[in-house]
């Protein structure tokens, strides 16, 4: 299998499919859940910030 390349991901200019993530929310000190559908409903800009792993530098 060839390695996936970035060009296989969402294209800039296209609509991002809905997604849901389980979260830890430091502001509340509690677990939660966040979905793009909710963010869109609340008219929020969203910035996704991927990084390799916890306990490394970001």
């Amino acid at each position: 299998m060839p390695e996936a390349c970035a060009c296989l991901g969402c294209n800039v200019g296209s609509t991002v499919p809905d997604f849901t993530l389980e979260t830890f929310e430091p502001a509340k000190g509690d677990f939660g859940e966040i979905s793009l559908a909710t963010l869109r409903k609340n008219k929020k800009w969203t910035i996704l910030f991927f990084y390799p792993a916890d306990f490394t530098f970001v």
């Binding site: 299998m1 390695e3 996936a4 390349c5 970035a6 060009c7 296989l8 991901g9 969402c10 294209n11 800039v12 200019g13 296209s14 609509t15 991002v16 499919p17 997604f19 993530l21 389980e22 979260t23 830890f24 929310e25 430091p26 502001a27 677990f31 939660g32 966040i34 793009l36 963010l39 869109r40 008219k43 929020k44 800009w45 969203t46 910035i47 996704l48 910030f49 991927f50 990084y51 390799p52 792993a53 916890d54 306990f55 530098f57 970001v58």
Partner: protein, 134 residues
């Protein structure tokens, strides 16, 4: 700043909690830490690294309408410039209001020179930038 920032890695929410609690560098972190255990979201955005199973350092700005407007991906060994991220975000806010304008490379913040593409400007971008003091 008017955007929901979500950090995403393949760690569980439990590990996120432990890291945020223990690492003093993260003491002031307020944004939600997303758990992409399956790597599904990383794959959707093309940042899943097959060799390691980890996600690359990808940053994506999505508009309130759900449109992907910016994408930046760095390999594991290079950190990101937050100033550049903020520049892009502010430019998006400006362009969402001023839909006929464009933010050139040197645009940094509200009030800086923007361009309005027109027939007059074709082949004359250099003059247009100069005229406007850019």
């Amino acid at each position: 700043m008017g955007a929901e920032i979500i950090t995403v890695s393949r760690d569980t929410k439990f590990v996120h909690l432990a890291w945020q609690r223990d690492e003093k560098q993260l003491a002031n972190v307020k944004y939600p830490m997303g758990s992409d255990v399956t790597g599904k979201l990383a794959k959707m955005f093309g940042v899943y690294d097959e060799a390691t199973g980890l996600s690359l350092r990808g940053t994506f700005i999505i508009s309130p309408e759900g449109k992907l407007l910016n994408a930046e991906v760095n390999f594991f060994n290079m950190g990101r410039n937050v100033d550049e991220l903020m520049r892009k975000f502010k430019a998006n806010l400006h362009l969402a209001k001023q839909t006929a304008e464009g933010c050139p490379a040197k645009w940094k913040e509200e009030g800086d020179l923007t361009l309005k593409p027109s027939a007059k400007m074709v082949g004359r971008v250099h003059e247009a930038l100069k005229e406007m003091g850019g």
